[in-house]
């Protein structure tokens, strides 16, 4: 069965410097292979700077890979042209992190929602597009829509703007949505609302979601009964069913990540031991450590970890990249 969207050993290297300093290279994504079918949810978690946003954008063709391929329904997206590319473009959408900058500040909400409807001929004319825009706003929980349609983004709150961004993403009826830290800039009290909205959409339209976040608690909520992938410095270190990975982490990095989730109870939080790490320094992406990138901090590192980069292996029904297994 052909997957909906997949990456095949995808790597992305960014150049830095070169003007006044020596040119350096950052390997944001290192040899990552992922596969997503229809009606799937995968949560991608990791620290800031581990490459998750870059991976998300690579899968949407907003960035081109330095090596490797991204496959949409089995075909390399770089080789898609014309109608096929338009088809892919329509079916791969993004819900970005910052609701305040994702809408054109000079255009009213209705002017931001109508163009995709008209471009893909989902609406036959402007009047129909306007009606559909109003329906979309009601679908994402903004009512009465008439009032919001005529406003400029500067007059709306973050929560409202994010819902509009979601409405815009689903307006073209995509099969695949990347939610890149979609709730990170929303007030904590409103997050569950937005998360539930996205879950409703997933259930209703059977969209495949790649949900990127640094917050394990959110990942646990959004991807319960689904899969989670943990990323570290450009590599995927563990993929598996969410509950299993969180209750019983196999990779040492995942263990540390789970242990680091804050506990609401201050007494318990004070008493809990610090995670066992050899060093608290995060290695730089310009000069990554040889072999397994985590070995400088891993309490269980052995000689082989310094030399050889572990591959993802099937362990207890999950994929783990660690020499321990």
């Amino acid at each position: 069965m052909v997957s909906l969207i997949a990456t095949d050993r995808v790597t992305k290297i960014f150049e830095v410097g070169g003007m006044f300093t020596a040119k350096k290279y950052i390997k944001a994504v290192d040899n990552v292979s992922l596969e997503l079918g229809e009606n799937e949810i995968l949560c991608l978690v990791g620290e800031s700077g581990c490459g998750k946003s870059t991976l998300g954008r690579l899968m949407l063709d907003l960035i081109r890979p330095s090596s490797g391929r991204v496959l949409y329904e089995g075909k390399n997206i770089c080789s898609l042209k014309g109608k096929e590319y338009k088809e892919f473009r329509r079916n791969a959408q993004l819900i970005p992190q910052d609701p305040y900058s994702t809408l054109n500040p000079m255009k009213k909400v209705v002017s931001s929602l109508m163009p995709p409807l008209l471009h893909y001929k989902i609406a036959r004319n402007r009047r129909e597009a306007r009606k559909m825009a109003a329906e979309l706003l009601t679908m994402v929980g903004l009512s009465p829509p008439e009032d919001i349609l005529e406003r400029f983004p500067c007059r709306l709150s973050g929560g409202q703007l994010q819902r509009i961004a979601i409405a815009r993403a689903i307006s073209v009826q995509p099969k695949f949505i990347v939610a890149d830290e979609a709730v990170s800039m929303i007030d904590a009290s409103l997050r569950v609302g937005i998360l539930n909205l996205m879950l409703d959409i997933q259930r209703k339209f059977k969209t495949t979601f790649l949900f990127i976040t640094h917050d394990l608690a959110i990942a646990r909520y959004f991807a319960r009964d689904r899969k989670i992938a943990v990323m570290y410095l450009g590599n995927i270190v563990e993929i598996g069913r969410t509950e299993e990975v969180i209750q019983n982490p196999l990779h040492p990095y995942t263990k540390v990540l789970v242990e680091a989730v804050p506990i609401p109870d201050p007494k318990l939080a004070r008493e809990r031991p610090l995670p066992k790490l050899k060093s608290l320094e995060i290695p730089s992406l310009i000069n990554p450590p040889p072999g397994c990138k985590f070995h400088t901090r891993c309490p269980l590192a052995e000689k082989i970890c310094k030399e050889k980069d572990p591959e993802l292996r099937l362990v207890k029904g999950r994929l783990v990249a660690c020499h321990l297994y």
Partner: protein
Amino acid sequence: MLKPTAQRPMALSKLIDALHYHIYEPLVLLSSDKRALAGLIILVVYILMAIIGPMLIPLDLTPHPEKRYLPPSWEHPLGTDFAGRDIFAQIVHGGKDVLPVAFLAGFVTVLIGTAVGIISGYIGGKLDTVITTFIDVFLTIPGFPLLLIVAVWLARSGIVINIFIIALLLSITSWAGLARSIRAQVLSLKEEAFIEAAKCLGLSKRHIVFSEIMPNLMSYIAINFMLSSVGAVYSYTGLLALGLIPYTPGNWGAMIHMAQAYVGTVTGAGCWYILAPSLTIVILQIGLVFLANGIDKIFNPRLRER
């Protein structure tokens, strides 16, 4: 008097809404900025003067040597010139020569500068490098001397000099600066999140340029239109004052030219002949600049109150 919104037919409601938003509100906003309001009033007065002035005040060009250099009086509000002709009438008629050229030149300058800036900034790559070099060449050529040379060449070549030729001429030396700054703005706008979103949605390049990027440039374009017109007025009257292009009498620049030729000093009886056109030009420029300062409020929805 007006029916409540829910009962009006949709088309009429939209028209009233549009008028309210595009004309009434900007005026209210501008009036809060006293300088911009002053600028707007000055501009309106000049435009009215240029359009209906000539109909109200006839221009009498017959020389009356006995009446030369009379000081201002009820009959001649600004005095008379070297040939005894009324200065005020000449000023009023001059508007219909200078204003159209100035605004047309401003418009053409903005058109060329914006188009080149957007093409260079959005497409990028080798085309951008070529265009940037082209812009730099035009920027290093000194504007007014180039203008003088081309103007003299035009006058001698026998090409009919009409308003369009002059406007084009004035634009040639002034589009480069605008092109460069529009390019810079386009380059930075390209990186904005809403442009990435538009690309992700698969919207066409044409849509992104005209519908996403242009609205963010409108404020800047409007201001530059005003300032280009200001520059065009100076260049045009400068050329006329130096006598390099043909003119009709009563044209402000022509008056300055004549005044230079016939009047010895700025004091004494003949001073009105030089002061009147000069002040007329200066007041127009001040008005346009003040108005340009207030334009941002109109184009930027973030500065509006609702």
